[in-house]
């Protein structure tokens, strides 16, 4: 059983959220801004599959539709705090 194709596995979802350039550059003003820290809090849809062999599979996505309907999907909340890291050899101590 696989996660719904409209969703990503949690690991892929989180790594895509963190895949930021982190530098904003304004040529005219000659200003460079670097993102130091970001706290994200977003509603997500979850799919939890219970595969006996591999344990649970957790799929998630941002809300797939924004049209208000009589019965709305259940939105869970995901909070991710990210911080800048210097590109040294020793990376990966945190999650």
């Amino acid at each position: 059983m696989e996660i719904d194709e409209a969703m990503l596995e949690m690991g892929g979802f989180v790594s895509q959220m963190v895949d930021l350039d982190g530098i904003l550059f304004d040529l005219e003003e000659k200003v460079l801004v670097q993102l130091e820290k970001a706290d994200l809090e977003i509603p997500i849809q979850l799919e939890i599959l219970n595969t006996n062999d591999e344990g649970l599979k957790i799929g998630c996505s941002p809300p797939l539709y924004y049209v208000e309907t009589t019965v709305l999907p259940v939105f869970h909340q995901l909070k991710v705090n990210i911080e800048i890291t210097e590109n040294k050899a020793s990376h990966g101590d945190s999650l």
């Binding site: 059983m1 949690m10 939890i48 344990g55 709305l72 909340q77 991710v80 990210i82 101590d93």
Partner: protein, 256 residues
Amino acid sequence: MATVSNAMWNLESFIDSLVVELDKARETLAIKAINKPLTYTVKDVGLDLHLFPTYNGDEVKFITAQPGQSGASRLSIQLGSITDQQIRQTTREPVSKDAITIDKIDVDNETRKSLRKMGVTSVNDLEKLENKNVDIANVSNNKISYKNLADIIKKSKRHSTPPSVGKVSLNMSGAKPIIIVDGNNLHLDAGFEPVAVVNNKLVHVLTSDNRKLEIEVGPDTLKKGKNELVMTLDPFAIFKIDINQQDNEREQRKTF
């Protein structure tokens, strides 16, 4: 809308899967960091889930709320970063290969569950509690006592080091014949002296250790032909050996 195949899950397997997924994310980020001068790491992750808990008398399971369902509970999970030093400080040592886990000992499920609830996962944990004089009977509402478990643990330990007899020989050079039994894991329990019986007569065990037993028998105890030697090495290792004195053939049977 995505088709959601909802299933019941317990918190432990959910957290396990979540940690595995976040590890994957970390690995992906580590690869990206090789070529990018600026990277970001996830410091912590929180999840607020809308779900329904159920309790079947044994364990708590959860199922995520479905569209249209109201009255769901909210479960908040917060996963923070942890350093390798913190892991070492807060995590017990992994169970070693030769350790006897409580899954391997012959106890009923209720006792096993009670032990697990107390954080006891191996016999070593139990012995540590006993050494610290912890009143385990009181903690477990009299379900568990060291006395009841002691024999079970000894039996399990004996199973992990089973005795074996390699050779049985007879030394007739002294005043009395001496049966010499060579083998492995013969006498391990220092608190128990091995007992030997030859042809239904109690005989004297002269020396005993892990590899060898010397048993002195009376001159009239042994007879020509088939002789029966029964050795009790400890309460969980009893050997019955048939010795044929004429051609030294022997047949060996082992019981626990």
